[in-house]
């Protein structure tokens, strides 16, 4: 273990460390705490210049009520879910297949295809922007959730394939060979042998992709506009223009927009972190 475990140190050092932890955390999350504080303050505090003092009254329900009942925010949130969930399912479905193919079989071009997926995954979005926008327009999918979903699935397949393939590589290959010896068809091996073993990988990917897609802003701006199809990351700008300079409402709106991935992260923390590290580090 490194550094030296704190329990092997002096009592003073232990207490000091325990005290330092919350302080460091507060410092680290300061900008966020500020926004949380803003979001429960009344309007009057801002006109009176009371930015950083205690709120003169707690307006949590008023402020958050406005976000939910007097703006398009709920629509944007629903859009975000309707975009994110199908993307997660689609990307996982595609990549468990590609991952299986690349991880289990030896054939010419295996590595080449694998590298194609990885390289594509790292490409700057901008080089795809013009043609993808054009394609989406031509398919009559501009400003639809479907258009956004299709692209996201395709792009995330790159990352997911990398992840799945490396995960499948770590599975005991003997299982597959044993199944083959018994004459099990290949697709049944995939379905009945490999897929059940991939559950942790599926869960990890699901959380990861959920956060990635939920937080996407660039493609939302390029492929959609307005509250019909736009997810919450893009919608928040229009929310902010409605309440420009009303920091308490803008803060409340931002917190609402950030909440789902945060909840997802806390609920599925183990998978999330496993996903982040396992996918890339072999």
């Amino acid at each position: 273990m490194f550094p030296k475990p704190i329990e092997n140190r002096s009592r003073g050092a232990q207490i000091g460390y325990q005290a330092l932890l919350p302080l460091a955390l507060i410092f680290w999350l300061l900008p966020l705490i500020a926004v949380a504080l803003f979001s429960i303050k009344p309007d009057a505090d801002f006109t009176n210049g009371n930015y950083w003092g205690l709120p003169s009254s707690f307006e949590m329900f008023t402020n958050y009520g406005k976000v939910f009942f007097e703006s398009d925010m709920p629509r944007y949130m629903i859009n975000s879910f309707l975009i994110t969930v199908p993307t997660v399912l689609g990307a996982i479905a595609l990549s468990s297949m590609t991952g299986f193919a690349l991880g289990v079989y030896k054939f010419n071009g295996n590595l080449l295809i694998f590298f194609m997926f990885i390289a594509g995954n790292f490409v700057p979005f901008q080089i795809l922007m013009v043609p993808v926008r054009d394609l989406t327009v031509n398919l009559n999918l501009y400003d639809t959730k479907t258009g956004l979903i299709l692209f996201h699935i395709a792009f995330q397949t790159g990352f997911c394939t990398l992840f799945m393939r490396n995960f499948i590589r770590q599975l005991p290959y003997e299982l597959i060979e044993a199944a083959r010896v018994e004459g099990v068809a290949e697709w049944r091996i995939f379905w009945f042998v490999v897929l059940p073993l991939m559950k942790p990988a599926l869960a990890a990917l699901a959380v990861l992709i959920f956060t990635f897609i939920w937080n996407d802003y660039f493609w939302a701006v390029v492929l959609t506009q307005g509250p019909d199809a736009q997810p919450v990351t893009a919608g928040i700008t229009s929310f902010n223009s409605q309440f420009r300079a009303a920091y308490h409402l803008m803060s409340a709106g931002s917190i609402v927009a950030a909440l789902p991935p945060v909840l997802m992260f806390f609920l599925m923390q183990k998978h999330f972190i496993a996903g982040l590290t396992l996918g890339a580090v072999k």
Binding site: T47, V137, N140, Q225, G226, S238, S241, Q242, A245
Partner: protein, 416 residues
């Protein structure tokens, strides 16, 4: 003669069409509006709801998008999956969309007799002899100031540049700033340039510059910046204005840290919301700088257009007739709605201190001419490069030479 005849024949035909189509409108009418500030938003939502109710078989789908964001989204919106009706601006600002074939020619509407009442705005809607949209409102620009603070300091509305400077000095001495402004989205700086340039060099020069006929390095342009610089060097503007939007700059005047705001009349609603009543807020016309040139005023016209790819053209045209009709014009421009000026000559101007003053000023005291506004008189690309330069000038006036050279480079590239 011929044209009048043709117009009236067409008008009759259109009238006939109207009475039948009023019943027959069906399907959906998709509107994208940029009226995202609270007061205009309410107006637009009201209009859509009312129009929807008037036509039982028609569903009106209204999408309101952020006004600043719309400026970069409109082309996208018009070229891919276009709606039926959109908001935009008159004059040069609509040229790129007309040239790209994205706006529909609505000359037939303008040939209807009812549209004679909109004649004063026809020029701003005309490109190549055709009309490409209809106006729904226009509004004066000018200096909105804190009357109570002026009274406290014993100041009166300035008529000349010298008085303006003297007033400003007195205000600065009292520990306040003279003007609030938020230049984050650049266009507010364009207002200052419009006024100082047109007051210094006259309307014709200003428009020639907008048309690319004058070099940005011309000594007359430099004179404009020199005048402007007097205020900047005094510290007349609030600090850090490049960080604020125009709304975020409002608290300065609301709280009396700055005393005046060069703005369009749409700001009045926001200032009243912020607690300024009519005894605290007043308005004056931008003062004379060069006595040899007549007043030119910024009075931008906001518009509705039909996308060339509109699906429901009949309903869209009917909506355009609806928003320009005298009655609707009177209502939506009222003091409790947009608080601006109606474009229809048969509408009544709201009984509101600021709207009345603006109407009076534009009718009788704008002999130089009416400007649409920096970002509408200049071609869009020139405006975008130009306003970035104006913002830089307001923060670093010493960079002027570099800025003007850059603008001149842009001019030579853009107008060729």
């Amino acid at each position: 003669m011929n044209r009048t005849l043709k117009a009236s024949v067409l008008g009759v035909a259109a009238l006939g069409l109207m009475s039948t189509s009023a019943l027959a409108l069906e399907g959906t009418l998709r509107i994208i509006s940029d009226m995202s500030n609270p007061a205009p938003r309410a107006v637009m939502e009201g209009l859509a709801a009312e129009f929807d109710e008037m036509h039982p078989d028609l569903t009106v789908e209204l999408e309101i998008v952020d006004r600043e964001a719309w400026k970069t989204q409109i082309r996208n919106a018009l070229s891919a999956n276009p709606p039926d009706v959109v908001n935009w601006y008159a004059a040069n600002r609509m040229l790129p969309y007309v040239n790209a074939g994205l706006f529909m020619d609505v000359s037939d509407l303008w040939d209807e007799p009812e549209f004679a009442a909109l004649a004063s705005t026809e020029g701003a809607m005309t490109i190549d002899g055709k009309q490409w949209g209809v106006p729904y409102t226009y509004y004066q620009w000018g200096v909105y100031y804190r009357e109570d603070i002026f009274n406290e300091l014993g100041l009166s509305e300035p008529a000349t540049w010298e008085e303006e400077l003297a007033n400003c000095q007195a205000i600065l001495d009292s520990g306040r700033k003279c003007y609030t402004i938020g230049t984050k989205f650049l266009w507010t700086a364009g207002g200052w340039f419009d006024y100082i340039n047109s007051r210094t060099n006259g309307y014709d020069f200003h428009i020639a510059l907008a048309r690319g006929e004058v070099e940005w390095t011309d000594p007359r342009v430099r004179q404009t910046f020199e005048n402007w610089r007097q205020l900047i060097d005094m510290g007349a503007f609030i600090d850090d204005h490049q960080t604020y939007s125009w709304q975020e700059a409002l608290p300065f005047i609301l709280e009396g840290e700055a005393t005046a705001y060069l703005m369009g009349n749409f700001a009045v609603a926001a200032m009243r919301d912020g607690g300024l009543d009519d005894s605290m807020l007043d308005f004056y016309q931008f003062p004379v700088i060069n006595p040899n040139v007549d007043f030119a005023e910024d009075a931008p016209t906001d518009t509705f257009h039909i996308a060339s790819g509109a699906q429901n053209v009949e309903a869209a045209k009917e909506f355009l007739r609806f928003v320009t009709s005298p009655d609707v014009q009177t209502r939506i421009n009222g003091g409790d709605a947009l608080g601006q000026l109606p474009v229809n000559a048969n509408s009544s101007v709201a009984d509101d201190e600021f709207i009345q003053q603006g109407f009076e000023m534009l009718s009788n005291n704008a002999g130089g001419g009416i400007m649409q506004f920096f970002d509408r008189d200049f071609p869009a690309e020139m405006a975008s490069v130009g306003m970035e330069g104006l913002q830089e000038f307001m923060v670093f006036p010493d960079n002027l030479d570099d800025i003007l050279e850059r603008l001149e480079d842009a001019r030579q590239r853009i107008y060729e």
